[in-house]
Symmetry: none
Subunit: 185 residues, 4 copies
C-alpha cells in the first residue's frame, strides 16, 4: 500500500482533527451534514479538508476505516459476548458513522479494513466455540450480520441500556443453542 511521502507535522495534525470533527458532525447531523461544517468544527478552512480527502466520499470512507480499525483493536481485548456488548453500546453512545455509510450513493472500498475486522471476530468466535459458549454450527457470516444489525438497531432505535441488554440476551442465547431444537423438544 503506497502512502505517499510522510505528511508534514502540521498536515498530520490537521488530518486527525478533520477526522475527529467529521466523525462528530456526521454523527450529529447525518451524512447530509456539509463538509463546510466539518471544516468549521475542525478549525481548518474548507480547502484543507479537500486537500486531505479529495471528495466527501473519501472522507466518509476514511472515518469508516478508522472506526473499523478501532473495532479490531477492541476485539483483541474481549471475548465474543463482551465484544458484542461493547460494540453495540458504543454504536448507541457514539452514534458511529456505520449506518451513514450505507446511505445513498456512498461508494466505498473498505474491503481490507472490513476483512481485518472479520478476522478478529472470527478469532473470537472460535474461542467461544472452544469454550462451548457458542454452538459449533454457527458461522462467521451470521455473527457479522447480527453484529451489524444490532448496531444499527441500537443506533436508530435509541435503545436504553436495559433494552440493549435484553436484546443481546436473546441473541447470545441463540448463538449458544441454535440448531439444538430446544433442550429436548
Amino acid at each position: 500500500m503506497v502512502e505517499g511521502s510522510p505528511l508534514r507535522a502540521d498536515a498530520q495534525r490537521n488530518r486527525a482533527r478533520i477526522l475527529d470533527a467529521a466523525e462528530a458532525v456526521f454523527a450529529e447531523f447525518g451524512a447530509r451534514a456539509s463538509t463546510e461544517e466539518v471544516a468549521r468544527r475542525a478549525g481548518v478552512a474548507i480547502g484543507t479538508v479537500f486537500r486531505h480527502f479529495p471528495t466527501k466520499n473519501d472522507l466518509l470512507a476514511a472515518i469508516m476505516k478508522r472506526l473499523l480499525a478501532q473495532l479490531v483493536e477492541e476485539a483483541g481485548k474481549h471475548d465474543l459476548f463482551a465484544f458484542f456488548t461493547h460494540v453495540v453500546a458504543q454504536a448507541a453512545a457514539k452514534k458511529t458513522a456505520v449506518d451513514l455509510l450505507a446511505e445513498s450513493g456512498v461508494d466505498i472500498r473498505l474491503s481490507e479494513a472490513v476483512s481485518h475486522l472479520e478476522e478478529a471476530v472470527s478469532s473470537l468466535l472460535k474461542q467461544a466455540q472452544a469454550a462451548e459458549a457458542v454452538a459449533d454450527s454457527v458461522q462467521l457470516p451470521e455473527v457479522m450480520a447480527l453484529l451489524a444489525s444490532v448496531c444499527q438497531g441500537a443506533l436508530h432505535g435509541g435503545w436504553g441500556e436495559h433494552l440493549q441488554a435484553r436484546t443481546l440476551a436473546v441473541i447470545f442465547a441463540g448463538l449458544k443453542q441454535v440448531g439444538q431444537g430446544g433442550c429436548r423438544g
Copy 2:
C-alpha cells in the same frame, strides 16, 4: 381525525401513483432522491406532488405510514417466526423505506401507525409463548428491537437468502431458549 372532503377520482389516482413512485425511488436512491424524480416516475408534474404532500417529509411520512399498515396486515396471516422471516425478506427485497426515515432530520409523527404494528406483533408473541415456541421471559420491546435491527441489517447488508435464514435461526433459537442458560448448564 378530519379527512377533508373525499378526493376526486383523478386526484385519488395520482396520490396512489405518487406514493408508489416515491416508494420505488426512495428505495432505489435513498431519501436523498429528489422529489422531481418521484414526480417523473409517477408521470405527474412536480407541482402535483407538492399539492398532495406539502413537504418532502410529508411524502416520506406517508410512505412509512402505508408501509406499517401493510405490516400490520401481514402480521394477521402468520405466526411470529413466519412474520419475522417474511418481514426481513421483504425488507431486503423491497428495500423498504424503514431505514430512510431514521435518516437525517426527518421528523415524523407516526406513533399511531407504529402502535398498531406493536399490537399486532404483541399478539403474535403471545401466541408463540402459548405454544411454548418462545420463552415466557421474552418481552415485546426486544422483539420489536430485533425485528427492526434485522430488517436494517438485511437492507443495508444485502444479505442473500441463505445468510438471512442462518441469522434468523440464531434469533429464533434465542427467543425460544433465552433465560434457560442452556439445556442444563
Copy 3:
C-alpha cells in the same frame, strides 16, 4: 364602457366576497399573498377567482378602483382638512392596498377612477380656499401628492394617532400659509 350581461345573483355575490377577501389578504400579507389564499378567505375555489378576474393584476386593479370610489364618496362628507385626516387614519387602520399597487410590475389602468377622486378633492380645495383656510397659491397636484405621501407614510410607518395628528398639523399649517413667507418675516 361595456359591462357585458348582468351577473347572475350568485356570481354577483361571489365577486363581492372575493374583493373583500382580497382587500383583507393583500392588506395583511402584501401583494405577494397568493391568489389561493384569497380564494380560501373568500370561501370560493381558485377557479372562481380567475373567472371573475382573469389575472392577479385585474384583481388588484379592481380593489384599487373600489377603494378610490369609496374615497370619492368620503370626500362628499367632509371639508379638506377633515378629509385628509380621515383618509390618513383609514390608510393606517385599513392598511389599504394603495401602496401595494405601486409595487413591481403591477400595471393598472385606473385613470377614470383617479380622475373622479381628483375632482372630488379639487372641489374640497376650492371650498377651503374660499373659506381662506388654504392659501390661494396652492394647487391640486401638490394636495394630491401630499395626500398620497402621508397615506403611505402612515401605512408604512405605523404611526400612532398622536404622530398622525402632529404630522397633519404641519401640513395643514403649510397649506394655509405657504407663499406668505411667514407672518411678516
Copy 4:
C-alpha cells in the same frame, strides 16, 4: 459587534458590486426581483451572492443600511430644508429601496442605522429652530414622518421637479408656522 476578519480584497470588491447591483435591480423591479438577476447584474455567480448575504432579506437589509448611512453623511452638508429637498430628489431619482423594505414580510433590524439618521436630522432641526426657520413646537418624530412620507410619495408618484418643489413648499411653510394659527387669525 464582531466584524470577523477583514475580507479579502476580491471578496470586498464583490460585496460592493453585489450591493450596487442589488440597489439598482430592486429599484428597477421592486423587492420581487430575483436574487439571480442581482447576481447577473453584479457579474458573479448566484452562490457568491448567498455567501455574502445568506438570505435575500440580509441583502435587502444591507442595502437599507448603506442607504441610511449615506443619508447621515448628506445631513452633515445641508440645513434642514436643503436636506429635505435633496433627499426627496434622490428618492425619486435613485428610486431608493426605502419603500421596498416596508414590503411584505421583510424583517430587518436596522435600529442602529436608523438612530444615526435620527440624530443627524435632530441636529438639523435644532439648527433650523435656532434660526427661527422652524417653529419651536415642531418635534423630531413628525419631521421624520414627513420626510419618509414625502420620499415615498415622490418615489411612487413619479413627481416631476416642479411638483416636488410645490409639495415641499407646503411642508416648509407648515414647519415654520404650525401652531401659530395663521398670522393673527
